[in-house]
């Protein structure tokens, strides 16, 4: 085999979906031993391109060569046989099975009696080689998200994939886990694997990749050598215009506390403790950020603070009034609004119209409602106002919400929750998966709410966002508040990372325990 041949060579790839061109004439290449970053906003066509490479979609035009040989995949199985592996954002693992059982998932030609010992030995061999420590006998549900990702990568290596597609792998990891992942990636490239690294985060792309391909609206915006480019240049290619990184945030004196909880305990959906003795308070004119790796109780904390989850013990107060375990409606009536992470699953009703969704939190209030009745003319007027005020792009307010894009869903929800000038807004991952323009819009809205005297509780996995947006930053790990940082921008990121990983920081220089406000 000619070593000069790239592992993957995609030429002129075009793919259309029902009138939308997701990919148009895209060339893409992965060489042996390189990390090739794939960058682009949401909807730029990254996932489509990778799903074509992984055999999930067939391209409408273009050719794919693997090690110089033209191929045509009709299923992910074919792609796997050609040595292509993909680690999705949501790992395709069977939670009720063990690590080693997941390794052999979908493998052909296994003997009737499984050679367990050999399989486990091979797992341990690979995990040794690439620094992917994992117990072959552990069940997937017992593992943390970071460990599950290791299993997913291990699975691909076990199947002898030499081309790995990592779809936003760092989105779910702590800074320490990210470093660990990067080590693994470097080890893999040293062994001659080719890695496609999909990411939104420019720093990671700059630090890890040797080349970057940027897609914009389904077209190739450029392929660059990472060493000869800058973050700003990449961002420019990505959005097509220069974007501002800094956030315009006024200095404001913190007002009275609006929403408080003390020694709050709550259970997760599976009945295990999810929030263990959390005490925080959000004040007027303040954004309180909550940092933490996904699944460490942030969402459960928010739900318990808006009446959607039972507080097992401890208390929740709104403007000094004890509201522990009151009905969600009572919280809404007192101006406590909640923007859930799960837009289509919790925040909106996908099959209902934009107008019907716009009144979800006010359908009992005048003027949209009068007595027992809903006045649909008022509803339409309200929805039209909301849509224009929060620049939701929709064909009409009669359109079912399921047809809107992620950014517009978020704008609609944000508008609905902010339109009453609530006392406090709890926003969970409000910019998750949004493109740059929508992200900026959401941040601006939250900041202007803070300026008007509102309180904001912001849960996010984007540490940069949290640090630049928050007046104070609480860090959560395993349901506990590890500390509340007064000026998060002045705290070294590594310390936040340590707190996210479970270290209680009491250093007076930057950290205090949460309950002592």
């Amino acid at each position: 085999m000619n070593t000069e041949q790239p592992l993957v060579h995609m030429e002129g790839i075009t793919k259309r979906f029902a009138g939308v061109t997701a990919n148009f004439g895209i060339n893409f290449e992965v060489r042996r031993g390189e990390v090739h970053a794939l960058l682009g906003e949401n909807g730029a066509g990254k996932s489509t391109l990778m799903n074509i490479l992984y055999g999930l979609y067939r391209p409408d035009g273009g050719k794919i060569f693997i090690s110089g040989k033209e191929i045509s995949f009709s299923s992910p199985g074919d792609a796997r046989k050609a040595g292509i592996g993909m680690v999705h954002q949501h790992f395709m693992l069977i939670r009720s099975q063990t690590v080693w059982e997941n390794m052999i998932l979908g493998l052909d030609g296994l003997p009737l009696v499984l050679p367990r010992r050999e399989i486990k030995e091979r797992i341990l061999g690979i995990s040794e080689q690439y620094g992917l420590q994992v117990d072959p006998d552990a069940y997937i549900w017992q593992l943390s998200i970071g460990e599950q990702q290791r299993v997913a990568i291990l699975q691909m290596l076990f199947r002898q994939a030499n081309i790995l597609i990592l779809d936003e792998p760092t989105a779910v990891l702590t800074p320490q886990e990210c470093e660990h992942l990067f080590e693994t990636v470097r080890q893999m490239t040293a062994e001659g694997h080719g890695i496609v690294f999909i990411s939104h985060k420019l720093d990671e792309v700059m630090g890890l990749s040797s080349r970057v391909t940027i897609l914009r609206r389904g077209k190739l915006a450029g392929t660059l050598d990472t060493s000869s480019t800058t973050k700003e240049r990449l961002a420019e290619l990505m959005v097509g215009k220069k974007m501002v990184f800094s956030i315009d945030k006024k200095e404001l004196a913190r007002g009275r506390p609006v929403l408080e909880c003390s020694s709050l305990h709550a259970l997760g959906d599976r009945g295990f403790p999810a929030v263990s003795g959390a005490s925080i308070s959000v004040h007027e004119h303040e954004i309180l950020g909550i940092a933490g790796v996904a699944g460490n109780g942030q969402q459960e904390l928010c739900e318990a603070m808006v009446g959607l989850r039972k507080a097992e013990s401890g208390s929740v107060r709104v403007k000094g009034e004890d509201m522990t375990n009151r009905a969600p409606k009572d919280f809404i009536d007192r101006g406590v609004h909640y923007i859930p992470a799960d837009r289509k699953g919790t925040g909106l009703v996908p099959n209902m119209k934009v107008s019907e969704n716009s009144i979800l939190k006010r359908y009992w209030k005048r003027p949209v409602s009068k007595g027992f009745f809903i006045k649909w003319s008022e509803v339409a007027a309200f929805a039209i106002k909301l849509v224009s005020q929060f620049s939701v792009s929709t064909p009409s307010v009669e359109t079912p919400v399921r047809n809107l894009s992620g950014g517009n869903l978020q704008k609609l929800m944000l508008g609905r929750e902010l339109s009453d000038d609530p006392a406090v807004v709890l926003a969970v991952h409000p910019t998750w998966g949004l493109d740059v323009a929508a992200t900026c819009f959401v941040r601006e809205q939250l900041l202007s709410h803070r300026e008007r005297g509102g309180a904001v509780l912001l849960v996010s996995e984007d540490l940069d966002e949290l640090i630049s947006m928050s007046d104070r930053l609480a860090v959560m790990c395993k349901g506990e508040i590890m500390g509340v940082l007064e000026r998060p921008a002045d705290v070294p990121v590594e310390s936040i990372g340590l707190m996210m990983a479970g270290t209680v920081i009491r250093d007076e220089a930057f950290g205090r325990e949460g309950s002592q406000e």
């Binding site: 979906f17 029902a18 939308v20 997701a22 949401n42 909807g43 730029a44 066509g45 990254k46 996932s47 489509t48 999930l56 979609y57 067939r58 045509s72 009709s74 299923s75 954002q89 959607l308 009905a327 969600p328 409606k329 919280f331 809404i332 909640y338 859930p340 799960d342 699953g345 919790t346 925040g347 909106l348 009703v349 996908p350 099959n351 209902m352 019907e356 009144i359 979800l360 939190k361 359908y363 009992w364 409602s369 027992f372 009745f373 809903i374 649909w376 894009s405 992620g406 998966g433």
Partner: protein
């Protein structure tokens, strides 16, 4: 060559017309083949069905008589289905409604017809409502699957009815038939135009209008629709899901119970074994065929009425056994429901090397 199934991205009005017409034609054709092998001329059989059910005033009135309980029960189950609560127990709720109405006649008899009818009405509604609310409460309180409980409650209701008509309430002069004595006239709903069409007709007209209005224009109707589409969003908006589960089940059961009272007081005039004839189950099909739209329920109930009346005629005129009539009705429903599938999905043939795995159409890059 392979066939793949894909969801349709949009459905045009042409399809909306063509598919039902085509499914009906296919149903009639295959039903015709079946009739042919039963030794009957399909044309004669279909003509017999139509003339019997629509051909004259009597036939038409009989069709309406069948459509009345179907419409009422159809509305009952539609309400619970709208909230995604599966009330499969309308049949049992019809029974307990009828039992309660009979009990009122036996134990609280008065000479005033309006008082008598209102008491029967209230008793039937309360009994049917409580019967369904039992399942609703168990669902809300302990997450007990309401499909199972409502289904099981059907059998309890059926045997309760049997107990009364075989036992303590049996008419001593019925020569052993399992039925109560006939009701006095004060306990009978008025009938119209010298036919068997009874006062239930008024409810069968009012209820669809009422629930169309309630679901579309009231706050509660909005809540029910939100809860049916997305219970999580409903909770998030401060709606009380559990309380409404019980309430919707109560109303659903109450309507079914009242349908039972109308059938009893308007048509049969006495409680007897095999009282309902499966209206509670047919109503489920009616509600689905009507896609849960209140007005469509009226229309579909009428079409079902044609099938039921026509079926009876075929038994008598063509001497076809009852089971073959049920096969014929089943085939027609099968095709109509099958057509629904083609409205939502299309089947495409692909060449072998062009096979794409079955999956939903991608929605851009949304993750």
């Amino acid at each position: 060559m392979k066939l793949t199934i894909e969801p349709r991205l949009s459905s045009s009005w042409r399809l909306a017309v063509f598919i039902p017409v085509f499914s009906l034609a296919a149903a009639l054709f295959s039903g015709g083949v079946f009739l042919y092998f039963m030794g009957v001329s399909p044309f004669q059989a279909y003509r017999a069905i139509l003339t019997a059910s629509l051909g004259d005033a009597y036939g038409l009135s009989e069709t309406v008589v069948k459509a009345i309980p179907l419409t009422m029960t159809g509305i009952a189950v539609m309400l619970s289905f709208t909230m995604l609560i599966w009330n499969i127990g309308a049949e049992g709720q019809i029974f307990v409604g009828a039992i309660a109405a009979t009990a009122v006649v036996r134990f609280f008899y008065t000479d005033s017809r309006p008082v008598m009818l209102i008491m029967m009405f209230l008793a039937a509604g309360a009994a049917g409502g409580i019967w369904a609310a039992i399942a609703g409460f168990m669902r809300a309180k302990w997450s007990v699957n309401e499909i199972i409980t409502t289904l099981m409650l059907n059998y309890i209701a059926m045997n309760l009815l049997n107990y009364f008509v075989f036992g303590p309430w049996r008419d001593p002069s019925s020569l052993g038939f399992p039925m109560t004595p006939p009701f006095p006239d004060t306990a009978r709903l008025p009938v119209f135009w010298g036919t068997r069409i009874h006062g239930g007709l008024i409810l069968a007209i009012i209820l669809p209008l009422l629930f169309w209005f309630v679901l579309k224009f009231t706050r509660w109707g909005y809540e029910i629709r939100v809860m049916g589409e997305n219970p999580r969003a409903a909770g998030f908006a401060g709606m009380n899901y559990l309380r409404n589960v019980v309430l919707v089940m109560f109303i659903s059961g109450a309507i079914a119970g009242i349908a039972g009272m109308c059938e009893l007081s308007g048509l049969q005039g006495r409680l007897q074994h095999g009282f309902s004839g499966g209206y509670g189950f047919t109503a489920i099909i009616v509600a689905w065929l009507a896609r849960l739209h209140p007005f469509a329920i009226v229309l579909v109930s009428f079409l079902m009425g044609i099938l039921l009346v026509g079926g009876e005629t075929l038994q008598i005129v063509m001497r076809l056994p009852l089971s073959s009539i049920m096969v014929l009705q089943g085939m027609i429903l099968f095709f109509v429901l099958g057509g629904e599938f083609f409205r939502k999905y299309r089947i495409r043939s692909v060449k072998d090397d062009d096979a794409v795995p079955l999956q939903a159409a991608p929605s851009g890059e949304e993750k």
